[in-house]
């Protein structure tokens, strides 16, 4: 009785283990095997005979309007803006080909950056790309294009975006050798970015000084010290020294560093 039960159980377990297992290869009919081998050979052969794909640079298309993109974002404009930013950032690196930034259509690049900012106005990323990435190409026209974009966007939210305009002011002074442009940017920061740190708001004084406008610089610096905005003793000391130098220069004008 016990022996019979043991055999029954063993048989059931073996059947259970074999269920879902594989039958030997010999159970596959030869025509099916031949068809598999022939189809695989045909597939690999026909694909190997195909010409290899060649890389082709694609032009940057115009961006859709912010309203359209908002609709396409399905209520996730920040995530969608991030995706678009990464898409734009990687556009110079298309499959199999690398396009120098200088060869990109900067008008289009600017449109994309402004559209992305429209989608996510708090993001600093598009302005960083404009100032630090696309603005670094050795082409003054394109550098100016990016700086103008930063300037336009600065006016919309000065307290959040002043640092990128400050970068452009430095770029205008040292790379573009356009101190008037640098002064315009520095004045815009001093005028509109009320929450910017003092060094950024003092920038126009040093630009003026570089332009040989010692008197104007001295007046501005004096006004700044008198306003009580600067509270750090060391900073006050440094600015006082600069003021003395400027007043000395008024009597014997400073040579322009331009």
């Amino acid at each position: 009785m016990l022996r019979r039960n043991f055999f029954t159980i063993t048989k059931a377990v073996t059947a259970r283990l074999n269920r879902g297992g594989e039958r030997p290869l010999s159970r596959v009919p030869r025509p099916a095997l031949a068809l598999l081998a022939a189809a695989l050979a045909l597939q690999v052969g026909s694909q190997a005979l195909q010409p290899k794909p060649s890389a082709r640079a694609e032009a940057l298309s115009a961006p859709p309007t912010t309203t359209t993109l908002r609709a396409l974002a399905f209520g996730e404009p920040i995530a969608f803006a991030a995706l678009l930013t990464l898409h734009l950032q990687a556009f110079d690196n298309q499959p199999g080909i690398s396009i120098p930034f200088a060869q990109l259509d900067y008008g289009r690049v600017g449109e994309w950056l402004e559209t992305i900012l429209g989608l996510d106005p708090v993001s600093q990323y598009p302005l960083l790309m404009a100032a630090q990435l696309y603005g670094q190409v050795p082409d003054p026209t394109k550098q100016r294009q990016m700086c103008e974009l930063v300037r336009r966007q600065f006016e919309r939210d000065p307290n959040r975006r002043w640092r990128w305009l400050a970068h452009c002011a430095i770029m205008a002074k040292h790379r573009l050798r356009d101190t008037r442009l640098a002064l315009a940017y520095a004045e815009a920061i001093a005028r509109s970015a009320t929450q910017a740190p003092t060094w950024a708001r003092q920038m126009r004084i040093f630009v003026l000084e570089d332009m040989g406008e010692a008197e104007a610089a001295a007046i501005l610096l004096g006004g700044l010290l008198a306003s009580g905005e600067v509270t750090d003793p060391q900073e006050i000391h440094f600015l006082m020294e600069r003021l003395k130098q400027l007043r000395g220069a008024e009597k014997s004008p400073l040579p322009s560093k331009k």
Binding site: G20, E22, L25, P29, A39, S46, P53
Partner: protein, 249 residues
């Protein structure tokens, strides 16, 4: 077997699902057309065609997976195996039914496009979609017979489709790296990508919206797509037969 596959589709209201997908995408395309400032017709055709292509692949692939899964669960498959019917006939019969379904889906999906695009381009798009769906249904059949479980089979079909849509870009990136072309890891990855390219159809060149909105495809390229489809469906059919013959139930 093919007739029963079609009958099953009819009785599970599959045609209604396809018609609803067509209607929803058509309505959405009219909405896109209405908000487009310019090139409204172009936007509409492009939106509908791209959406319908994806919807067609989704419903056709999923239908095949679920249909075979139901046969496994209802033991209908066990009854078929008990009959004096070679397993190859089961694969071929089912596949014939699903291929007919793929052609019907492509035909219905392309009908609204007749109003948006030139007839020649619509015919090319429909033929290409039918061929693309033929590969998808053959792949879904193969996956379900091989994995026997819905989730792994559906995951494989999805992953394969995404790979097929992007294989050309992946091969290009592998063939022309921006840095580190000589490293061993790159050589291995590039070789793997090239090998994958040999056994994966490049779906990015199939059923292109550009045919509808820019200019029709060259018929020679469509012949090429047809040839590739036939070879690939044959390969998947043979692989499905091979797996089914080796399976123990």
């Amino acid at each position: 077997m093919a007739r029963y596959a079609l009958l099953e589709a009819l009785r599970t209201r599959f045609p209604v699902l396809v018609l609803v997908a067509v209607a929803v995408l058509l309505l959405a395309s009219f909405f896109v057309e209405s908000i487009a400032v310019t090139e409204g017709a172009r936007f509409q055709a492009a939106f509908y065609a791209a959406g319908m292509r994806l919807a067609g692949v989704f419903v056709a692939g999923l239908y095949v997976l679920v249909s075979i899964a139901r046969e496994f669960n209802d033991k209908g498959f066990d009854i078929l195996l008990a009959l004096d019917l070679p397993r190859a006939h089961y694969v071929l019969g089912k596949l014939a039914g699903f291929l007919a379904l793929a052609v019907l889906i492509a035909a219905v999906a392309s009908l609204p496009l007749v109003w948006f695009a030139p007839l020649e381009a619509v015919v090319q798009w429909a033929v290409s979609l039918a061929l693309e769906l033929a590969i998808v249904v053959a792949l879904a059949l193969f996956c379900m017979l091989t994995f026997s479980q819905l989730v792994p089979a559906a995951s494989f079909v999805l992953a394969f489709y995404l790979l097929a849509r992007s294989i050309t870009a992946i091969r290009l990136m592998g063939a022309h790296p921006l840095a580190g072309a000589d490293s061993l890891s790159h050589q291995v990855i590039s070789g793997t990508m090239e090998a994958l390219g040999l056994v994966t159809p490049a779906f990015d060149t199939w059923t292109q919206t550009a045919w509808l909105v820019d200019q029709p495809a060259a018929w020679a390229s469509l012949l090429q797509i047809g040839w590739q489809s036939i070879v690939y469906v044959l390969l998947l059919t043979a692989a499905a037969m091979f797996d089914l013959y080796r399976k123990n139930f």
